[in-house]
Amino acid sequence: MQTKQMTFPSRWLPYALLAPQVAITLVFFLWPASQALYQSLLRQDAFGLRTTFVGLDNFARLFDDPGYLNAVSATAVFAVGTTLLSMGMALLLAATVNRMLRSRESYTTLLVWPYAIAPAIAGVLWWFIFNPSIGIVPYILEILGYRWNHRTSGSDAMLLVIFAAAWKQISYNFLFFLAGLQSIPQSLIEAAAIDGASPFKRFWTIVFPLLSPTTFFLMVVNVVYAMFDTFGVIHATTQGGPAQATNILVYKVYADGFVGLNLGSSAAQSVILMAIVVVLTVIQFRFIERRVNY
């Protein structure tokens, strides 16, 4: 890759221009991150009067804690569910919109709107739709013979947060899938049509394999989103309940640290999350380097 060389009139100017960004990174990222690392090795008493160094004991306790292991499995279900649902819906919509000629632009614009909505608002929206007393969906489900109540049923609650989180992410996935579909030459699909493949078969044997770079990229992005950016959705709807059923890792960091005031354990949890993010980021960058895999 060719890089453009820029010469500055004085030596300190480039550093001055970089300084605000560096300062923000230091204050809002590196300092809190180092604090978290430090805190994860300490334990405070109930009144915050004494702090003792406990080494890796916070981590060891976490992996013995059924509550934490429950959060790990809830996160796995939530992340997989959100990713599958949002990517599946987005692919379906993108494939449909891609067949439109004149209305493509308007559909694209409309389908991107949910992305502009704050996670908490999306959560509240779905909370209303699924509200057991006033929501429209429980009303319809009642007629169909199912009694929806995410306040008492853990699986109902999990479905609710998956719906809310996935709905918001569909827009993003949709845009990438649509771009991916449009980059597939029309002549390939025509060639497959002449080769006797039905529209369904064309999609699964030609289009879908050619979309695989996009699909893989989105999978990583969606897992990261589900694991880390969904605090607002959870907080506005179930708050981790009922009975910890939707208490995903990132929410548990908040609940244990800021509600339970168990700072050591909360810090240890955030360090584990940090490690997961690092791994996912490495996977993503590794992959982006060799973008085309066919």
């Binding site: 030459p185 002549s187 390939l188 025509e190 002449i194 080769d195 006797g196 044997t205 030609i206 066919y294």
Partner: protein
Amino acid sequence: MASIQLTGLKKTYAGNVEAVKGIDLEIADGEFVVLVGPSGCGKSTLLRMVAGLETITDGTLKIDDRVVNDLEPAERDIAMVFQNYALYPHMTVFGNLAYGLKNRGVKREEIERRVHDAAAMLEIEPFLERKPRKLSGGQRQRVAMGRALVREPSAFLFDEPLSNLDAKLRVQMRVEIKQLQRRLKTTSLYVTHDQLEALTLGDRLVVLNGGSIEQVGTPMEVYEKPASMFVATFIGSPAMNMLPVAYLRERGANGLLDHLAADTDVIGIRPDDLRIEAPDEDHLVVTGTVELFEAAGAESHLYVSLEGSDQPTVIRTSARPPVAEGETMRFHVLPSALHPFNQASGKRTQQGVS
């Protein structure tokens, strides 16, 4: 094997744009027909209509005496070679060739046999396990042909298959396509904008312009007796020179133009029919100044401004003519080499002259 019959075939796009304006054409079983014309003449649209990739607005399309207007491309028993080859990038060469057969439920041993036969014929056997991106342009072209071959369809459709190749490879593949077609005797419809490709490949040419047929005929018929001024200037390179009849009459050519129809007002002369040496028979003479001399190896082109005319004129001669730039000289034309046209209709005026 099959014949293809087009009757009043029309294509109208939204907004009343007529891309193809009623084409009548009959392609015999085993014939190689080339559709040739400038870009936007509707030749690709016509081919895609035959393939089933474009809907037919009006008219009838028959393949092997069966009306196929509303059939899916797969049901028409045709194979197509695309301009950009359209190879499936995620499949090996073998996978590319086998795809169409698998979709049709051909047995595994039969697929193996047919793919290897086609690969042997096209000399792509060493590449069967490679992905298309690991192949050169010429190899990809062969794979695209192979994908059409293995299907053993009743007709081949070619959509400018050679235009992405470099000049040398293009000539080589042109010869191979011709030989292959001779051997397989499969009815073929070939689209190109390259007049040389059209002349060398086709049993018959169909010259298209603005969505209509200008002329249908064997390459030599089209070259020696172009039916319109458009065909005359499109086929043959350098293009035919066009001179007003009045201009030739002024040069004292009266007696030699009497056999032409009364409505002739433009005369076409091929660049090689303007000669430097005077022939023995009665002939026309024009005088001009050589503006530019272009050596092209086996032949040379003279760009001449004729005395009393602002029409640029091209002359094709042997490799080393005794001519210098700036020289004024006489050029000789036999009356039999004149192509008479009418300016208003654009058509040839008198049949039987050549």
